[in-house]
Amino acid sequence: MNPVFKFENVSKIYRVRSGLFSKGAGFAALDSINFSLERGKTYGLAGESGSGKSTLAGLLTGMTHETSGKLLFEGEPLRQVLRKGRASYAAKVQMIFQNPYLSLDPAWSVEKIVGEGILSRPSMEKKERVRSAVKAVGLSEDYLRRKPRALSGGERQRVAIARSLAVRPEFLILDEPTSQLDVSVQAQILALLKSLRPQIPAGMLFISHDFALISELADEVLVLDKGRLAEAGPAIDVLRNPQAECTRRLLEAVPFWPPREGKA
């Protein structure tokens, strides 16, 4: 079976212009990535700021395209898949963003927001799906009529997750979904994501710079360092026995109790 996503020597180069007429130098946000995301696994993507994590998520959602190399979705070039129809791709791959204060339309009710991805469905089915998605993220039905401003950060993120679930996606991309939330809310969202795993057949990609969060969720870990894939492997192996310098740096940075030896 084809992997969900396959990166073949994928690079993404941004042109940085130095003057009005200069062509500018290239900045490689992603540099010759070779990797496959296998079906049914939860991947944790780690890296420091500017390592290319969000660029990678942008490629997977089709918001931007690779400069060179090949990105395959279920064996077919993603560009081709998108050309055939962005909507049918969005029905399979969904993304949840970092900031639930920005990702929801303030003028819309929760019902409308959650139904946004399934507008073309018959209204009975739409209603049904919205209801079950809202229920799946642990919100009651009286939330349907509320507007985002009447929701807390955790509730907003639940609504954003419900919006993705209503589409019944096969693959879910989560870009730092808890970094704007309080710790206890973060724990609830992580528990929710864990419980949702069986509903997302093709798997998840969880992006974070915090290895503690990644170790809660991921089966497999990828580490990006300045656009290059520094390390990849089963979470247990990478966390216990990091090979890349950057992985070690990120692991050592996780605050630990009791404190590690020789830290103070």
């Binding site: 420091e48 700021s49 950060g153 309080d182 710790v183 206890s184 809310v185 973060q186 724990a187 992580l190 710079h209 915090d210 290895f211 503690a212 969060l213 170790s215 809660e216 966390l239 216990r240 740096r249 990120l250 692991l251 050592e252 940075a253 996780v254 605050p255 630990f256 109790w257 009791p258 404190p259 830290k263 103070a264």
Partner: protein
């Protein structure tokens, strides 16, 4: 104990007209000489408001009324403040040099403060602007600003929450070095393990009230209050 730098006795803070909303209190707390006090709590716990009161800035806020007793043994110059987001803390239109000199500090003080944050003048040009610096450098410039007048107390309000893990570790290392020179800290965060690693004493707050206080070991290993237990349990940890 009497050697507290700052002391709150039954402080109650309310906002608004007519029906007033209580944001803090009644709250008792003290910040002692030569200690790092961690104030832990989630959004809306009143952590930042308590910090504003320590800085004496609440009086400037419209509609805020403080009851109770606040004793502050420090002169204004002896307290510094480090905000959360280094990018919005620096003015994009002014060079680093002019922003560092803003508080009246002379060249020598500026140079000394920058050396303390490991940005000697060979590494950073005072003519550079905030956008030309990396996130970590910007945060170090902000810390240097806080160090300019050799404060006895630094109030750091979520100083690392907009930084990535490695930068966070870098900033904490810097804080430890500053702490080792005898400077006291009030370290405000929602990240319990982070505070436990740095502070001598932790104070857990919820809805403007003190839940409990204790050494990091007491709070992390033997929390007395259910809310603290919940915070300890929800803190993500590495599963190895």
């Amino acid at each position: 104990m009497t050697n507290a730098l700052i002391e709150f006795r039954q402080v109650i803070l309310t906002y608004g007209k007519g029906e007033r909303r209580t944001v803090i209190g009644p709250l008792d707390l003290e910040v002692f000489e030569n200690e790092a006090l961690g104030i832990i709590g989630e959004s809306g716990a009143g952590k930042s408001t308590a910090a504003l009161e320590m800085l004496g800035l609440l009086a400037l806020k419209e509609g805020a009324r403080v009851a109770g007793e606040v004793k502050n043994r420090l002169a204004p110059r002896e307290i510094s403040y480090i905000p959360q987001d280094p990018l919005s803390a620096l003015d994009p239109l002014f060079s680093i040099g002019s922003q560092l000199a803003e508080s009246g500090a002379g060249k020598d003080l500026v140079r000394e403060a920058l050396t303390r944050v490991h940005l000697p003048l060979e590494k950073i040009s005072l003519q550079s602007y905030p956008h030309e610096l990396s996130g970590g450098m910007r945060q170090r410039v902000v810390i240097a600003m806080a160090l300019l007048h050799k404060p006895r107390l630094i109030i750091a309000d979520e100083p690392t929450s907009s930084l990535d893990m490695t930068l966070q570790a870098e900033v904490m290392k810097l804080f430890r070095q500053i702490r080792n020179t005898g400077v006291s800290f009030v370290f405000i965060t929602h990240n319990l393990p982070l505070a436990a690693n740095f502070c001598d004493r932790l104070l857990v707050m919820k809805n403007g009230k003190k839940i409990e206080t204790g050494t990091p070991a007491q709070i992390m290993e033997n929390p007395r209050e259910p809310y603290t237990c919940q915070l300890v349990e929800s803190s993500p940890r590495l599963h190895l």
